[in-house]
């Protein structure tokens, strides 16, 4: 009786059995890559907005402080999105006829709020508080990147838990003097010395309990 399997089946089966380990490993590596990639995290993705607001123009060009618009960043968990009123403080005087600003004027006239698309989005089971990070010397640019160079706002950081923990485990690498928090262009001269010193000064804890963020 003839053999059912050809001799090559032996080799094939060996390759398949040993290869399975590598194939599984490779698949995990691919999945791990995808969940960290912008496809899953939206890192670097621009959002369509009702008004193409440029942080670059307002922050770098005009030198407006972050807190002029994001008023509650030092007091609340939410930094705050400015009401139409804030835009109109200036734009009732300048660029009053610009087509680009029509939705803003319309909103102010009719009392209908502007509807912005959220750029930085955390899941509902994560609770982030802006005020404490600002108070402990974490600069805006640390998470939001060089906003002053963004013509259109995009998400700078991946906002994965791994990324959050990289700082919560080693805040000394990211901490800066409080007075530099809103300075976009700040670069530490000697972070190795400064970080641990500010940690002590600001009494920064390395909070990595689950309930620090998840509750």
């Amino acid at each position: 009786m003839a053999q059912i399997f050809h001799r090559s089946a032996n080799t094939l089966s060996r390759v398949t059995i040993f290869g399975a380990v590598f194939i599984a490993g490779f698949l995990l590596w691919v999945i791990g890559g995808i969940v960290r990639s912008p496809v899953a995290t939206d890192q670097g993705v621009f959002r369509e907005q009702p008004v193409p607001f440029s942080h670059q123009h307002h922050v770098a060009g005009l030198g407006i402080d972050c807190r002029y618009c994001h008023t509650s960043v030092e007091t609340s968990n939410f930094a705050g999105i400015p009401p139409t009123q804030t835009c109109m403080n200036c734009h009732k005087e300048i660029w009053t006829n610009a087509d680009m600003l029509a939705p803003v004027r319309n909103s102010f006239a009719t009392g209908t709020p502007l509807v912005w698309s959220r750029v930085h989005r955390l899941p509902d089971f994560v609770h982030f508080n802006h005020s404490i990070h600002v108070a402990k010397g974490i600069g805006c640019a640390e998470c939001h990147g060089r906003i002053d160079k963004m013509a259109l706002t995009y998400q700078y950081a991946p906002l994965t838990m791994e990324w959050c923990l990289s700082c919560h485990r080693a805040p000394e690498k990211h901490i800066r003097p409080r007075e530099e928090v809103f300075n976009m262009a700040y670069v530490a001269k000697n972070q190795e010395e400064l970080g641990p010193r500010l940690m002590r000064e600001y009494k920064v804890q390395k909070l990595t309990s689950c309930s620090t963020c998840h509750y």
Binding site: D42, S131, I132, A135, C210, S211, T212, Y215
Partner: protein, 989 residues
């Protein structure tokens, strides 16, 4: 009722099995083998749905659903929108809640409230610490009122005969009515609930003056007529009594549940408990005697308690007035002596269900003891116009029947449902040509009215009302009416002919006309009370001239009709939180029951053997109660300590048109309507009822009595869940040296170590904490069937234990949240580290990690973990979305959850403390858990154990402090104090 069941009966049945001193149900006391087996399983009902197996069709359904959903997982996250204000209100910081003082009324009387608002959405109710009726505490009704606000079943539009109309059409329809009434208003009638609101009262007086002959009727189904008439009997006029329990050494409650019922109950509970907290060095403790007609929250903390028939309370009161002399009962003489020893520092208080004469008797005793003026203050009445409401309604019904009533405007209330049965209110109402009804729901009365106007919730409109001592609160809205509602004062305004007066103008102009100005107005809104508006004490002594006792009617069984502890008179019937709340003493939910004592159950043939076979915690039999020609069928329930020969039933169920929860569209209303058995001459029921078991078989119930039992041990016997001691006795519970060894390395808690101490001595089991927790933590309800399967989601449960004779046991309440163990059994068993130890000693639960293995729950000796077996949280109903606490995740199916010690509040306080600078420590009292904040008796204390000065650290040092199941070396952070009772040494048994 001579064949009482005794402890010995049970003991004989048990034989050699070690007995338990404390027990939760008769089944537990009798300890059948089958019962123990049931108890040993955490979810005995769990296996049932699976036993059926999966057939081919179900399999196909499941698989096709899985396939369909598999595709969705790949979808990207939907885009989220941010909608800022156009003009942001001043002082509003997005992300920071704001608090507004307002007031909630029940029975017309106000309790001060602080309502939490997130970006204009009220999300949580707390008591107002500055309000004398609250002092910061809140009850289940207040807590659940937030769900009532967002209830999608609330009335939303003006109806005329089922057609949608507008408010202005209604106002136009009133014009011919009011025109006709200008010359003779006799045919125009107003029916309201009890009103203490000065501004609304003034408006009504204006209307009455405008239409000569017009009459105002008041009706409240759970009325305080008995109190009003009793005090009138004593003092010759309608007055209000205010009690000062903080000054009372001895309290005698004559069927009075003063800690959870009636005006000022939260204040009374706080004051009463302040004299019952025995700490190291405490030299005095008050004593409570309760003569009641069935377990209630006050009776549960009594030092001595006698369960009597409702009709027998009067006999006790008369004997007490006589000083106990000439009565066979030696106990009464002993109580009388105790009262005499504490002249001027005692209180005798009668319950709202007792007839006026008992109230007059109680006041006569208070007068005799010199309590009036010291522990009891008499003031002018709270009501704008106190009347005998029953007679007021009777007059209305008589006039309606005679055709004298041309138009009836009903402001609130639901008289078609809740008027006395013999009034035939519905039939009489149909004879009125013009009927208008303002109410929260399109209810039974609305259906019989031509016009229905949706009423505003108290968080939606302006108003005012008096608290239990007369203090006026301005009720201010937190949100514009969600459903086009109108306030009572707007309807009155329409009657007055002006459409423009807004509730704000009405209330504000009234108080400005009373000498207020902008500054006092703003101050009153800020404080929640108008300064110095409490009614001053008035003179007068209670008369000792009491009418002679009427002949007592004897009959088979005495029917005892009481308001429901959860849904009151039926107005909260559509509130799921209250429906699912285990009733304070019986631990039943989702319907009403016929409550009897063990011996009565035996007498009507519901024998011990049958009960055990049914496994009474899961099922019971139904009974037919016949009373004065009316029948009702209710499930039978045995409550130890209930008076024999009495069957207690509660009002508020059997709603025909109460909303989706009260009257499910695809089934019969939940519970049975008792109002048809409530006659005007005996609103509280009376003798002459018969009870018979129906032929139908087992009836499934939702009772949480034996759910999550700790009292089960392999070796039998008691596990010392409850510890008790007698006041003055040597303190037995010295801290035992336990072995703190563990296989796991010890944790360090460098900054904070959160802990809780609960004092069950003062826990009345009122449930305020349970609903507060539910509101704070977005806890879902699951429905009757799921509760039956032990799947209720309450993070905090109140265990109720009995001790002693089943006919008259002692009662112990024990709130059980998560113990936040230092050696937590839940933590090491989680395969995905979804539950872990925080640096401050919390057992964190990370929902997004949880994969639902339920190992943690299985390994928790305290049974405090709750699992979302189904999608219990309502994600779809738009109306509920703004209600949820934005600081707490809404949990989905397949996720474990449990008490977090309100970690969102801890984190908030920590961040505030760190931003404040300095030593950055959270100070004692800055973190208040939701349960602690609600508790009227201050039985729950939370704080940082690392701070030796904190209240919680001090309490942990008390000799009576102990941990539950400490022998397991879990080192629970939540500990308990031993229950202290103060029995009179002269009284035995």
């Amino acid at each position: 009722m001579t064949d009482k069941l005794t402890f010995d009966d049970f003991r004989a049945r048990i034989g050699d099995v070690p007995t338990r001193e404390y027990w939760r149900s008769l089944d537990e006391l009798s300890r059948s083998e089958a019962f123990d087996e049931v108890l040993a399983n955490e979810f005995p009902q769990q296996a049932l749905p699976l036993q059926r197996g999966v057939d081919r069709r179900d399999f196909m359904k499941l698989m096709s659903a899985s396939m369909a959903l598999a595709g969705l997982a790949a979808c990207n996250r939907p885009e989220q929108k941010i909608v800022p204000y156009v003009r942001q209100p001043e002082n509003l910081v997005p992300g920071k809640p704001m608090y507004f003082a307002t007031a909630m009324t029940l029975g017309g009387v106000a309790t001060g409230v602080l309502a939490e608002s997130h970006l204009g959405r009220p999300t949580k109710i707390e008591g107002n610490p500055d309000h004398p009726s609250s002092l910061g505490a809140s009850d289940a009704f207040m807590q659940a009122s937030i769900l009532g606000l967002y209830d999608p079943d609330r009335a939303q539009v003006v109806y005329q005969l089922g057609e949608i109309r507008t408010w202005s059409e209604f106002v136009a329809a009133l014009v011919p009515i009011t025109n006709a009434a200008k010359t003779n208003g006799h045919g125009l009638r107003l029916l309201t609930q009890t009103i203490t609101s000065p501004s609304l009262g003034a408006q009504i007086q204006q209307v009455l003056a405008m239409y000569p002959g017009m009459q105002w009727h008041q009706w409240e189904p759970v009325s305080r007529d008995n109190v009003r008439e009793g005090l009138r009997m004593a003092f010759g006029a309608y007055v209000n009594a205010v009690y000062h329990f903080d000054k009372a050494n001895v309290v005698v409650a004559l069927d009075a549940d003063f800690t959870s019922d009636g005006p000022g109950h939260l204040r009374y509970a706080r004051d009463f408990a302040s004299r019952r907290k025995v700490r190291r060095g405490t030299t005095s403790m008050n004593r409570l005697y309760s003569i009641d007609c069935g377990l209630n929250s006050t009776a549960a903390v009594a030092d001595h308690r006698w369960a009597v028939k409702p009709s027998e309370v009067e006999t006790w009161a008369r004997a007490l007035l006589a000083g106990g002399s000439g009565v066979g009962n030696a106990n009464i003489a002993a109580i009388a002596r105790d009262l005499q020893k504490n002249r001027g520092a005692a209180i005798v208080i009668a319950g709202e269900g007792q007839p006026p004469v008992v109230h007059a008797l109680a006041m006569a005793i208070n007068q005799q003891l010199g309590n009036v003026g010291s522990t009891v203050t008499i003031t002018d009445p709270l009501e704008v116009q106190p009347v005998n409401e029953l007679e007021s309604l009777r007059q209305l019904v008589t006039d309606m029947n005679s055709g004298a009533v041309q138009a009836l405007v009903m402001l609130g209330g639901n008289p078609v449902y809740d008027a006395p049965a013999d009034f035939n209110f519905a039939e009489a109402l149909k004879k009125v040509p013009f009927r208008a009804h303002l109410s929260h729901y399109y209810d039974e009365t609305s259906m019989l009215s031509q016009w229905h106007i949706p009423e505003t919730h108290y968080l939606e409109t302006w108003g005012d009302a008096r608290g239990h001592d007369g203090t006026v609160s301005i009720q201010q809205p937190l949100i514009a009416p969600l459903y086009n509602g109108r306030a009572a004062c707007e309807v009155i305004g329409a009657l007055l002919g002006g459409m423009d007066a807004s509730p704000y103008d009405v209330v504000r102009s009234y108080w400005f006309s009373k000498g207020g100005n902008e500054q006092t107005w703003r101050q009153s809104l800020n404080d929640g009370v108008i300064a110095n508006s409490a009614l001053p004490p008035r003179g007068g002594a209670a008369s000792a001239n009491i009418p002679p006792p009427a002949a007592r009617k004897e009959g088979n069984y005495e029917l005892h009709i009481v308001p429901d502890p959860n849904i009151y008179d039926g107005r909260f019937a559509n509130n799921g939180w209250l429906q699912e709340l285990p009733k304070p003493q019986s631990k039943l939910c989702w319907e009403n029951f016929a409550i009897v004592s063990p011996s009565t159950a035996k007498a009507i043939g519901f024998a011990e053997g049958e009960r055990a076979a049914l496994n009474n915690e899961l099922a019971t039999r139904r009974v037919k109660i016949s009373y004065r020609g009316r029948d009702v069928v209710l499930p039978l329930w045995i409550v130890p300590g209930h008076p024999s020969g009495v069957v207690t039933v509660t009002l508020g169920y059997g709603r025909k048109n109460g909303g989706r929860i009260a009257s499910p569209p695809d089934g019969s209303p939940i519970g049975a309507d008792i109002y048809p058995m409530r006659f005007s001459d005996a609103l509280g029921g009376g003798a002459g009822a018969t009870i018979a078991l129906t032929d139908e078989g087992a009836y499934m119930v939702a009772c949480t009595q034996e759910h999550q039992s700790l009292n089960f041990s392999d070796t039998g016997g008691d596990r010392e869940i409850i510890k008790r001691q007698t006041f003055g006795e040597a303190e037995k519970h010295e801290e035992e040296e336990t072995n703190h060894q563990s296989m796991y390395p010890p944790f360090a808690y460098p900054l904070h170590a959160w802990a809780m101490v609960i004092d069950p001595s003062v826990c009345t089991g009122c449930n305020g904490c349970v609903v507060a927790c539910q509101a704070e933590n977005n806890i879902a309800i699951v429905g009757k069937k799921e509760v039956h399967r032990q799947r209720e989601m309450h993070w905090l449960r109140i265990d109720r234990y009995f001790r002693g004779e089943p006919e008259n046991p002692e009662i112990y309440h024990q709130p059980v949240p998560c113990m936040q163990c230092e050696n937590a059994p839940c933590e090491p068993v989680c395969p995905v580290e979804a539950t872990s130890h925080s640096g401050e000693g919390l057992n964190d639960m990370t929902y997004n990690r949880c994969v639902g293995t339920r190992y943690c729950s299985n390994n928790c000796p305290y049974k405090v973990r709750r699992f979302n077996f189904f999608h219990y949280s309502d994600y779809d109903t738009a109306a509920y979305k703004p209600m949820r606490n934005p600081d707490v995740t809404v949990r989905t199916r397949g996720v474990m959850e449990k008490c977090t010690y309100c970690v969102q509040r801890i984190n908030e306080a920590k961040i505030d403390a760190e931003r404040r600078g300095g030593d950055q420590r959270v100070r004692d009292g800055e973190v208040v858990t939701a349960c602690q904040q609600a508790c009227p008796t201050d039985a729950i204390v939370f704080g940082d154990m690392n701070d030796p000065k904190s209240r919680v650290a001090q309490l942990k040092k008390e000799p009576s402090n102990y941990g539950l199941l400490a022998e397991l070396n879990t080192r629970p952070r939540t500990t308990y104090l031993a229950v202290v009772r103060n029995p009179n040494p002269e009284i035995r048994g």
